[in-house]
C-alpha cells in the first residue's frame, strides 16, 4: 500500500468518527519507555456499535484496549469519551465516567461470591446495586441462580460471565472486552459471542479484542485488523471475514492458496 492511499484511508476513517462514544487517534503507547507497542493506531465506536479488533499475536490488540482504559501509558495521541479527552486517566475515574473493562485473566475475585463480585462492580455507587443486579441477572440467569457461590469454584465460562456482569454494574456507555472467548471450549466460546451480542442489543456499545477472528467478525458491526501496532485494515465484519489479505496477515504470504 502506498503512503497516499494509506493517509486517504486514514482521513476517510476519521470522517466517520464524529459523534463516537469512544475514539482514539494516532495512539503511540507501550509498557516501557522507548519501546512502543502501538505505533499510531486509530479507532472509534459509535453509540450502540459492536466493534471487533483482531490481528495476529503481538499485533497490539490487548495493548490498544488497555491504552483506551488508562492501563498502558499513552505517549502520543488521544483517547476521547463522548468528546472529553480522557487520555491517561486512572482506571477508576474512567469507570465512573462510563467505561467498563473486562480483563482477559484473573478477572474475578475468587474468594468472593458471585453476588459480592457484582457488588464490587458498583462500589463507587452502591445504591444502584439492586437495579443493576437485576439487569445483569436478566442477561446471565445463571449468575442469579448461583449468587451465593464463590467465584473461585466457577468454571472458566462462568467466570467470564461474572467478569462481564461486574463490568456492566456501573451501566457503562461502552464496554471493553479483552479476548472473552480465550481458553473456553468451542460451545462456550459461541455462548460468549452470543452473550456479547445480547449485551450490545441491550444498548451497550462494545469494543472487543478477539483471537477467534471469524466468530468475532460474524457478530461485530465493524472490525479492525491490527498489525505491528497499526491499523492494517478496517471495514464491516463481513467484508473483513472474506478478505484474503486478513488470512495473509495471520499466516504470512503462504497462507494464501497458490494459484
Amino acid at each position: 500500500m502506498t503512503e497516499t492511499t494509506q493517509s486517504a484511508e486514514h482521513d476517510n476513517h476519521l470522517a466517520h468518527a464524529d459523534g463516537a462514544v469512544l475514539r482514539a487517534d494516532d495512539l503511540i503507547a507501550g509498557y516501557l519507555p522507548g519501546v512502543n507497542i502501538l505505533n499510531g493506531a486509530d479507532l472509534y465506536c459509535q453509540p450502540g456499535e459492536l466493534v471487533g479488533i483482531i490481528g495476529p499475536n503481538g499485533a497490539g490488540k490487548s495493548t490498544l484496549l488497555k491504552a483506551l482504559f488508562g492501563l498502558v501509558k499513552v505517549h502520543e495521541g488521544s483517547v476521547k469519551l463522548k468528546g472529553e479527552d480522557i487520555t491517561n486517566q486512572r482506571a477508576d475515574q474512567l469507570v465512573s465516567k462510563g467505561i467498563g473493562f473486562v480483563p482477559q485473566n484473573n478477572n474475578v475475585f475468587p474468594s468472593l461470591t458471585i453476588e459480592e463480585n457484582l457488588e464490587m462492580g458498583c462500589y463507587q455507587d452502591p445504591k444502584r446495586f439492586t437495579e443493576r443486579f437485576g439487569f445483569v441477572t436478566d442477561l446471565f440467569p445463571r449468575l442469579g441462580e448461583r449468587r451465593k457461590q464463590r467465584a473461585g469454584q466457577l468454571s472458566g465460562g462462568e467466570r467470564q460471565m461474572v467478569a462481564m456482569g461486574r463490568a456492566l454494574m456501573m451501566d457503562p456507555s461502552v464496554l471493553l472486552l479483552d479476548e472473552p472467548s480465550a481458553g473456553l471450549s468451542p460451545v462456550l466460546q459461541d455462548e460468549v459471542f452470543v452473550q456479547t451480542r445480547n449485551i450490545n442489543k441491550a444498548g451497550v456499545s462494545v469494543i472487543m479484542v478477539e483471537q477467534n477472528a471469524r466468530r468475532c467478525l460474524q457478530i461485530c458491526d465493524r472490525g479492525y485488523v491490527l498489525d505491528q501496532g497499526r491499523n492494517a485494515y478496517s471495514g464491516t465484519g463481513k467484508s473483513l471475514a472474506d478478505d484474503p489479505k486478513v488470512i495473509e496477515l495471520y499466516l504470512g504470504t503462504l497462507g494464501q492458496k497458490e494459484d
Binding site: P56, E158, G183, D190, N212, R215, I247, Q256
Partner: protein, 302 residues
C-alpha cells in the same frame, strides 16, 4: 555432515502431511499424552513423532497447548496420562534435570538466566557431572580443577560463537532480551544435547538480532542436532523449519512441510477460529444455550 543433513531432510519428503504421521527416524515419540487444567484439556495428543536431525516447528494459536506440551516432554510438568520416549528411553516421571542429562535440553520463552551471576558463571552452571559439586571432593581443587578448566574453555568457545564473549564478566541481569535468549541457547549447549527445544526464541528480540538468531538456530541443525521450536513469527517458521506441526485446542491438527501446512484449511481455521462452515448469527440459539448449559453443569459438579 552435509550429506547427513540432506539425507535427514530427504527422508521427510515421502512423509504424508497428516497429524501424528510416523517419521522414518524419530528421536521423540509420544502417545496419548493428556494434561487438563481444571475442566480445560490443555494437551490431548494422540501420537507425535519428531524427526531426528531436522528443524521442526511447533505452531498454533494462543492457548493451543504448545508450551504445555514442551513442559510435559521435558519433565517440567506431569501429564494426566500418556507415554513418551526420547531415543527409545521412556521419560514418564523422569525429572527435568535427568531429561537434560539424557541429551534433551530446552530453553524458556521468558528466559531463566540467573541475573546476579555473570555470563560465564551462568554458562558453567550448564555443564553436567561436575565433580566439584560433591561434598568431599569440593575441598580439593586438584580433583576438579581440570574439569572446571575444560568447562570454562567450552563455555568460552560457545560465548564466542554466540558473540557474547565481550559480555563474559557482565551480570546476566544486565543483558538485553535478545542477548539473554542467546545466553540460554549457549548454556543449553554446555551439555552437548542431541535435541534442543526452543520456546519462542524470537519473542521480545529486536529485528536486528533476529537474523543472527535465525543463523544460530540453523547452525544447531547443521552440526547434526535436532531442533524443536515453538514460534509465533510465521516468517521465521517459513524460513528455517523443515517440518511444521500445528496444534490447536491441545490437539495436533496438521503436520507437513511449511508450504503444505500454511495452505492447509485446518491451519487457517485454527488461527482464525473454527466453525467457518456455520455463521453464528444463523445458528439455533436455543440449541447453543442448551449445549452451553450442559457443559457448564458438567464443569461445576464436585
Amino acid at each position: 555432515m552435509a550429506a547427513d543433513l540432506s539425507a535427514a531432510r530427504a527422508a521427510l519428503e515421502g512423509v504424508p502431511s497428516e497429524p501424528g504421521v510416523p517419521k522414518p527416524d524419530p528421536i521423540v515419540k509420544g502417545d496419548n499424552i493428556t494434561r487438563t487444567f481444571g475442566g480445560l484439556k490443555a494437551v490431548d495428543v494422540e501420537h507425535i513423532e519428531i524427526q531426528r536431525g531436522v528443524i521442526t516447528a511447533l505452531i498454533g494459536p494462543n492457548g493451543a497447548g504448545k508450551t504445555t506440551l514442551f513442559n510435559l516432554l521435558t519433565g517440567f510438568d506431569e501429564p494426566d496420562d500418556g507415554t513418551w520416549a526420547f531415543n527409545g528411553t521412556a521419560l514418564g516421571k523422569v525429572p527435568a534435570y535427568k531429561v537434560a542429562r539424557l541429551g534433551m535440553v530446552r530453553t524458556f520463552q521468558l528466559t531463566k538466566v540467573l541475573s546476579k551471576l555473570t555470563v560465564i558463571e551462568n554458562m558453567r552452571l550448564g555443564a553436567k557431572g561436575q565433580r566439584g559439586e560433591k561434598f568431599l571432593s569440593a575441598a580439593f581443587k586438584s580433583l576438579w580443577g581440570a574439569q572446571e578448566k575444560a568447562n570454562t574453555d567450552r563455555a568460552d568457545a560457545l560465548l564466542e560463537r554466540f558473540k557474547l564473549d565481550a559480555k563474559r564478566e557482565d551480570f546476566a541481569g544486565s543483558l538485553s532480551g535478545g542477548q539473554r535468549k542467546l545466553l540460554e541457547m549457549a548454556r543449553a549447549l554446555m551439555v552437548d544435547p542431541e535435541l534442543i527445544m526452543l520456546d519462542e526464541p524470537m519473542a521480545g528480540v529486536n529485528p536486528a538480532l533476529k537474523q543472527s538468531l535465525l543463523g544460530h538456530v540453523k547452525s544447531l541443525r547443521d552440526e547434526g542436532r535436532t531442533v524443536l521450536f515453538v514460534e509465533h513469527d510465521m516468517d521465521m517458521v517459513r524460513d528455517i523449519s523443515d517440518w511444521v506441526i500445528v496444534m490447536a485446542q491441545g490437539q495436533i491438527v496438521a503436520e507437513g512441510t511449511p508450504q503444505s501446512v500454511m495452505a492447509d484449511q485446518r491451519v487457517i481455521d485454527a488461527y482464525l477460529g473454527a466453525h467457518h462452515d456455520s455463521d453464528i448469527t444463523e445458528i439455533d440459539i436455543a440449541d447453543l444455550e442448551k449445549a452451553a448449559e450442559a457443559e457448564l453443569d458438567e464443569g461445576t459438579k464436585p
